[in-house]
């Protein structure tokens, strides 16, 4: 066991941190600390510019293989990257679906031609991706896919019809990956395909979903015989690919997420010291508990990343989502209670929420999206503890 980073890694940290200090300034000052969860709809054009800036500096897709334009950065370096980025309030990455999900999936399952076609746009920050996973009636049950894909013999392309939901940044995206049913007779995770769909076409319609914050970060996306530019893998391999993609989602970015949480907690501590809430014994206990929870989340992530089987569902990884989601939900409540009666007062009328209010309300979704706490507990019990699976209806 060794908690310190190597000298080489610390050099990497210094380099990136210096780049950020030089570049996340001026026109980009306004997007610092913006665009994170609950705030993803903010400043899209500035943030898209920032993606290109990152790319120009060589700071996109650092974990990708060098062959595809990445830096082949080690786990440690990726951790450092996310930490430093979050530490200075780097804006929510509009490119994260492409960089973290689509790219790795294409690298793993795409043809050489597909790699040439899609990876450069992700690398240089020009082409943005969104995801088409969840469906209105499916919820946490990802296999309950109703969206259909039918092969258009004339075009020799698949046409997609159906509805996806909880798609963030759909308005801003150039591409969407879509899981759809290629075999109409199939059930659940059989007979699915994994499609790459251009958003700018007549068969695709995006409707924002207004959330409890009064803002719209998520969207519904309607496909009506939309043409899929490509299929990744073969028809029937959709589930395997989708599951692999979810695997890419976990891991190194969690330490960046924690840094965002740290920023929020720091704000709360600041408020508490300022308004005297720091002298309330019950709030002191809760602040200390939040602080402890976050630090232990960090150590848990470090264990997860140090595990040679990382990426697989080892135990520290299994509990990770449940841990952070529950922790963050409590943090939201804590923020309000530290603010006291002022917690009710909006930034301005008619309904402009403060950052902490937005955070508080938005945390109620943390225990729902990406698998509800209930689904997470099922997974832990079944995969982690070998307990019987829930009966399907």
């Amino acid at each position: 066991m060794k908690l310190q980073f190597s000298a080489e890694d610390e050099l990497f940290r210094a380099e990136f941190s210096a780049w950020l200090a030089d570049n996340l300034t001026g026109e980009f000052e306004v997007i610092r600390y913006r665009g994170g969860p609950g705030d993803e709809h903010m400043y899209p054009s500035e943030r898209h510019q920032w993606e290109k800036k990152m790319a120009a500096g060589g700071w996109t897709c650092i974990g990708w293989p060098k062959a595809y334009g990445g830096k082949d950065a080690s786990i440690e370096q990726q951790v450092i990257f996310h930490e430093e980025y979050a530490r200075v309030g780097g804006p929510g990455r509009m490119g994260h679906i492409g960089e973290g999900l689509t790219g790795p999936t294409i690298i793993a399952y795409g043809s050489e031609e597909q790699k040439q076609k899609y990876l450069p746009g992700i690398l240089d920050g020009t082409e943005l991706w969104c995801q088409g996973y969840s469906e209105p009636s499916a919820g946490s049950d990802l296999a309950a896919v109703k969206t259909k894909a039918v092969l258009d013999e004339g075009l020799n392309k698949w046409r997609i019809s159906g509805q996806k939901v909880w798609t963030s940044l759909a308005h801003e995206s150039d591409w969407c990956f879509v899981v759809a049913r290629t075999d109409p007779q199939s059930q659940r995770h059989k007979g699915l395909g994994f499609f790459l769909v251009k958003m700018d076409q007549p068969g695709v319609e995006v409707r924002p979903i207004e959330q409890l914050t009064g803002t719209s970060e998520f969207n519904e996306v309607f496909f009506d015989e939309a043409v899929a530019e490509d299929i990744l893998g073969k028809p029937g391999e959709g589930w395997t690919i989708a599951m692999a993609l979810l695997g890419f989602e976990r891991g190194v970015s969690t330490l960046g997420q924690q840094m965002l949480f740290q920023n929020e907690l720091d704000t709360i501590v600041h408020v508490a010291k300022d308004n005297g809430a720091s002298q309330d014994p019950a709030l002191r206990q809760r602040i200390a508990e939040a602080h402890t929870g976050l630090r232990l989340m960090r150590y848990n992530a470090m264990r997860m990343l140090s595990d040679p089987t990382s990426g697989d569902l080892d135990k520290s990884a299994l509990v990770y989502k449940l841990h952070w989601a529950s922790w963050h939900r409590n943090l939201g409540k804590l923020a309000m209670d530290v603010l006291g009666p002022e917690s009710e007062i909006c930034a301005s009328g008619p309904y402009e929420l403060t950052r902490l209010q937005s955070m508080y309300l938005f945390t109620r979704s943390d225990t729902i999206y990406g698998g509800t706490n209930q689904v997470q507990r099922n997974i832990i019990a079944e995969r982690g503890l070998g307990m019987p699976r829930e009966a399907k209806g």
Partner: protein, 394 residues
Amino acid sequence: MDFALTEEQEMIRESAENFLADVSTSAAVREAMQTEQGYDQQVWRRICEEMVWPAIHIPEIYGGMGLGYVELAVLLEKMGKYLLCSPYFSTVCLGVNALLIAGTKQQKGDYLPKIAEGQLTATLAYTGINGRWDAHGVQATYQKTDAGYLLNGQFRFVPDGHTAELLIVAAREEGSQGEQGVALFALSAEVQGVTRQWLPTMDQTRKQAEINFAAVSVDDSALMINADSGWSKLSSIIQLAQVAIAAEQMGGAQQTLDMAVDYTQEREQFGRKIASYQAIKHKAADMMLKAEVARSAVYFAACVGQEVLAEQGDAELIDDLPQAASMAKAYCSDAFFFNAGNGIQFFGGVGFTWEYDCHLYFKRAKSTETFLGNASYHRELIAKQLLDTDGGLS
């Protein structure tokens, strides 16, 4: 001993249910909450004229119905269930109670009949910018003048403070501290020197305002009964308001449970109704426990409130008001928040959309939890009574 609603109380409950189901629909709530005023004038007129609810616990000699606090709690439970947007809480649970407890004969005669007739709205302002709910929260000051009193200072978090016509305000003698030197005044919101500003709030169904007093001059008749007992009277008024809020919260806790359970019977996941999952069932059972215990807490506290306001109330029960109010407010705050929060979880993705009503209850749960002190604030008050008496160690 009989701790069940009487037949008459059940009838009041049913008529409230019917009326509110009609006028306080989701669409109506959403329309009213987006206005600065915060309520529909026409609905308010019907509440005053058709239902005569503002009169409910005003004594008959002041033109009221002369019923008790339990009947009021019955109405509030239903208002909480339907998230009614109206100046009822501020006018009746703050204004009327303040007049009943601390009003001079003259003030009662002047204001109560008007409220009973639906001709006057009212509110209570006591907390300043420090946002404290105890005596230290009283930050505005008064000075005795030849003509009467000169009032200065700022009030914040005042329910319906921007629309209420009658203001009952707490101020302290300049230089006084804590529970000493607090007096109550009743005055029109139109008096010179009073400025009021709506504060937009996260819970849009319950409006708050900031009120500034800049050298507001009132004559002697504005002073309410205080002598040396200003804070003691104000405490009772606040405690009765806590009981009222708790009653609304209990209605909300029950409603969020009912909505959530209904949804579990229709929503499917992994091929099963989610109501069939034991994790959902057990959470629903915990929610029901909280709603039931909240009900017991509210109705007990309402019985106590009844004695406090009665001509010759039971002395033992009257002494119980601070504790009964704190227990009800602490328990119901947590119960409503628990149920409303879990309600969102039961609904899943749609639970945090604007379209579904979950968030309206969730926000109301939070705003009422905070208002007049949350559970931890009230538990500390209870602990003081239990532990700091008979020369406890320091």
